[in-house]
């Protein structure tokens, strides 16, 4: 079977660079709206910090980046080729 001829030459609309650019822009607009929504809502904070402006936004972003960096740090010691356990 010759995959080359069967694959469509033009990209699926979802993965065209123009669509991806649009998705990034739309994503940032959505994030901005969500952060600004903090002005409108009145949270019932359990502790105080969770009621402060933009808490969930920066906390979500920073903890995730921290987890990614921490996992990369652990990878220095823990990573092996995936044939490591093969006999």
């Amino acid at each position: 079977m010759n995959d080359e001829t069967e694959l469509p030459k033009d990209l699926h609309w979802l993965v065209r660079p123009s669509t991806i650019k649009l998705l990034w822009r739309g994503g940032f607009v959505l994030l901005a709206i969500l952060v600004l929504a903090d002005f409108a809502i009145h949270p019932h904070a359990a502790f105080g910090i969770d009621g402060s402006f933009g808490f969930y936004s920066w906390y979500g972003l920073l903890t995730c980046l921290a987890m990614i960096v921490f996992s990369k740090f652990l990878a220095i010691f823990l990573k092996r080729k995936d044939t490591y356990y093969d006999d």
Partner: protein, 564 residues
Amino acid sequence: MMIDAFPPGVILVLGGLVLPFASTQIRYAIILLLPLYVLWSVWQIGDGIQLALPFLEYELAVVKGDALSRIFATVFAIMAFAGGLFALKQEQVAELAAAFVYAGSAIGVAFAGDLITVFIFWEIMALGSTMVIWAARTPESYKAAMRYLMIHLLGGVILMIGVIAHVADSGSITFQAMTPNSIGTWLILAGFLINAGAPPLTAWLPDAYPEGSFSGTVFLSAFTTKTAVYVLLRGFPGIEILIYIGVFMIFYGIIYALLENDMRRILSYSIINQVGFMITGIGIGTEMALNGAAAHAFTHIIYKALLLMSAGSVMFMTGGKRKCTDLGGLFQSMPITCICGIIGALAISSFPLTSGFISKSMIAQAAGDENLFFVWMCLAAASAGVFLHAGIKFPWFVFFQKDSGLRPKDPPWNMQAAMIFFAILCIGLGVAPGPLYDILPFSTNYVPYTVPHVVNQLQLLLFAGLSFFLALPLMKRTLTISLDWDWFYRKFGVWLVGFLTRGIVEMRRDVFAGLKGLVDRIISLAFSSHGPDGLFARTSAVGASVAVIVVMLMILVVAFYTNV
């Protein structure tokens, strides 16, 4: 002896045992109808002991109903149905037979009113699940199943010793809330935790589950860990150490899933992460927290099975491809599998309008109500992390990222139907949580949908999503695995045994060499004295002999003469 009900779990076990001998049509009928009958019979079990049987000097409460038992038995039966539908055309009938035995014994544990019955069904579960892994019939699955069985037999032995010690202490076999304050109760807790995938024995799960067949892993994800959650809920609610064990499992699952390349291992680590949320809830121990743990077990079984069905479909249609490095771009040719996978991913991430949102929120709410600031902060970070490691990572690397050039079709109708059924449940429970809240162990008036809660959850999740795409270069997949606790018994243990036995071999060789040398010396000594040329073997002339004898006689005569 009292018989008011036949144990629903045993119906499913017996059905499983019949499967291999049934013709194809009858097999399909059993697979599709029996779990529904079991589901019906679960709801015929009233509160209190329904079936008591004598055993030695004890009275076993084989079937004992209450709300907690019923909610777990319900989701186990639903899972058996959808898993059966997904695996309907599985050529390895043994896998389905084992899966039904496995599911049936899980339901058996959910209704067990005493510790001996718990233990019996616990062990049947271990055997059933091992058979499910074996049914994949690959060399990897054989070895992984052996390692899996070893860990679970160890867990079973620990549980059995615990039960015996506890019964000897308390004189009662009743399975009820305990405090770990004796050897017996500590060992029972340890036995339960091993099945939950708690540290240090976490690695059996991501080691064994991904080695099941495309459909086997779907069954595996549901029963063992969630039965462990059930017994912890009943046996050890509010035990503080469980909070810390749960929080550890949450982050362990995230970190290892972030490093993983195999899509089914990603989802396996994510099981430990999700069970961690439940165990944290059990440790908090308030009605809200226990409700949250039970509800989360219910919704988790459904969306995790959905995710693994999606992954299984990809595997099935690509001839067994599991690694993110081999996959990508599949959304173009597998739209149903992709959309169902994304719905499962949104549900596990607790997006509003999905089932994860209405269950996981209760655990965080309980941590807030109890003023557990540290725990609450961990749960919030972990909620973001779930979206990161499972919610985006799985669909992104399997269905999007680069174009792998693969163009597999969606799987056969029964697999699609099972996925669509569970996708509908994920959305349905998220939109209308009422029916699930009604069957929780404690009555609740929790309201998940408030404007701040929805907005805050979206902020948390979407910024987690942003971090994924910002850090995408760091997330690049490589052909690697990460060392885990199983290294201790897969590498270090093997090396240690080799080292010790090498020592023994050398010692044995030295001892034998020494002994042989000793024997050789004795032989050569004997040879030198008694050999052909030895002193005692020489011949000598008669005259010389007579002369020697005469001389000796003379010495004697002289000696005796002087003495006399």
